[in-house]
Assembly symmetry: C2
DNA sequence: TCCACTAACATACAGTCTGTATGGAACAGG
DNA sequence: CCTGTTCCATACAGACTGTATGTTAGTGGA
């Protein structure tokens, strides 16, 4: 009953096509229905191949997801870098000013349903913490940490520990983007979240009168 | 519709036992292995019942998870409320001071592996966004939002939109607690995260020289 | 050109897991 | 005594994942 599939010359280009089709289909479906609710059969059907191709190119379903998430994170990082280098050229300010505006543009860039669902929602649960963190570390945190280090070196941001600062700021922006995405009034939510973010960042600047040893960790 | 007094002195207790056993076993296993990696058979085995009992008490596996997560969130909220009311009595300060110290103690309370895994990691992916948000809204956000509203009314916190502020602060603390939990040096991580948090909160206070309309939303 | 040999799939199958349907025991009420 | 309901156990059907196996196009060597 099954119509035999005719396979023509299988060039390296065709192989790459298969892989890309799988990635594209998986990305779409994972973002729309979530990881658990997306069967491998659904993916290969959308990609017009069979499960054999999937398991040839990827170790398992989670491996496919990892590749999809890496692609999402990669694209987001590239988008941001391009945006920020352009801004730095046209309007050269100090690193701190650049970082603050960068946060705001990240807030806009983050407003991408696929990125949110795959990287922020499904990612931590599907890949465990370590694998997720490794991916984000590679694609996202490095940029933020670099910018923060620059700003600290320039003296406009107080010498706070970059590690936790990076994670916490990233979480802040992530949550803000999710808040904006699910709000009824996107424009208003964007404005409010941007305002809150800007206010929170104020505290990072040099504040001469404040001793950095206020908090010791024991309540 | 009339509910006559039901007295099943012994059996009613037994029924509650079954339910509690399921909740306890599920909580343990979900926190340890994650939702997807925990089979219903594992849960009922740990609870010393059969799958029939599980599906009698809960609609499906996700429903059981929801109950577990609600329990976790409930306990966390109770713990915090108790802690804060005690603090408020012994050391009555203004709402803002109370809130700041409350954040720090939340940072400590959040350092609970079950809470982190179930509520913060698995929750958003297992229950969708809306169900998760509804639960957190009910158990966690209300407290934070109330405290923020008080602090704003007292004038020590600027009149910022409470909705996004609540979510973003909660995300901040959640990420900080995760950072602390996975750090090699917990004590140091706790100290650093607490410091960063304290600094970020500074920006929320009244800052006379800053116009709140700096950020308009369009980059 | 012939012959391995391998990459790139397709297909069939086995194991696992979830949800449901069925059955039964205990108990309350009429 | 009969009946209905609650509470749970068991059996079963469907779905899904990963793997084993088959098949074909390309490739390098002799």
């Amino acid at each position: 009953m099954s119509v035999p599939r005719i396979r023509r010359s299988r060039s390296a280009e065709h192989v790459a096509d298969t892989r890309r089709a799988l990635l594209r289909a998986a990305r779409e479906l994972f973002a729309e229905r979530g990881y658990a609710a997306t069967g491998t059969e659904d993916i290969v059907a959308a990609a017009a191949v069979t499960r054999g191709a999937l398991y040839h190119h990827f170790k398992d379903k989670a491996d496919l997801f990892r590749a999809v998430m890496a692609e999402c994170a990669q694209e987001m990082a590239e988008r941001l870098v391009a945006q920020e280098t352009a801004r730095a050229e046209t309007n050269p300010g100090d690193a701190w000013q650049l970082l603050r505006s960068g946060f705001q543009s990240f807030l806009d860039a983050c407003n991408d349903a696929q990125f949110q669902r795959i990287v922020l929602i499904e990612g931590p649960a599907v890949l465990g913490h370590s694998a997720w963190d490794a991916l984000v570390e590679e694609h996202g945190y490095v940029l933020l940490a670099e910018a923060l280090t620059d700003a600290i070196r320039e003296g406009n941001v107080d010498d706070l520990p970059v590690g936790p600062l990076t994670r916490m700021l990233a979480a802040l922006i992530s949550e803000a983007s999710l808040y904006i995405a699910r709000a009824d009034d996107h424009v208003r939510a964007r404005q409010e979240a941007g305002l809150v973010l800007e206010r929170l960042l104020i505290g990072l600047g040099r504040v001469p009168g404040v001793s950095p040893a206020l908090v010791t960790g024991q309540s």
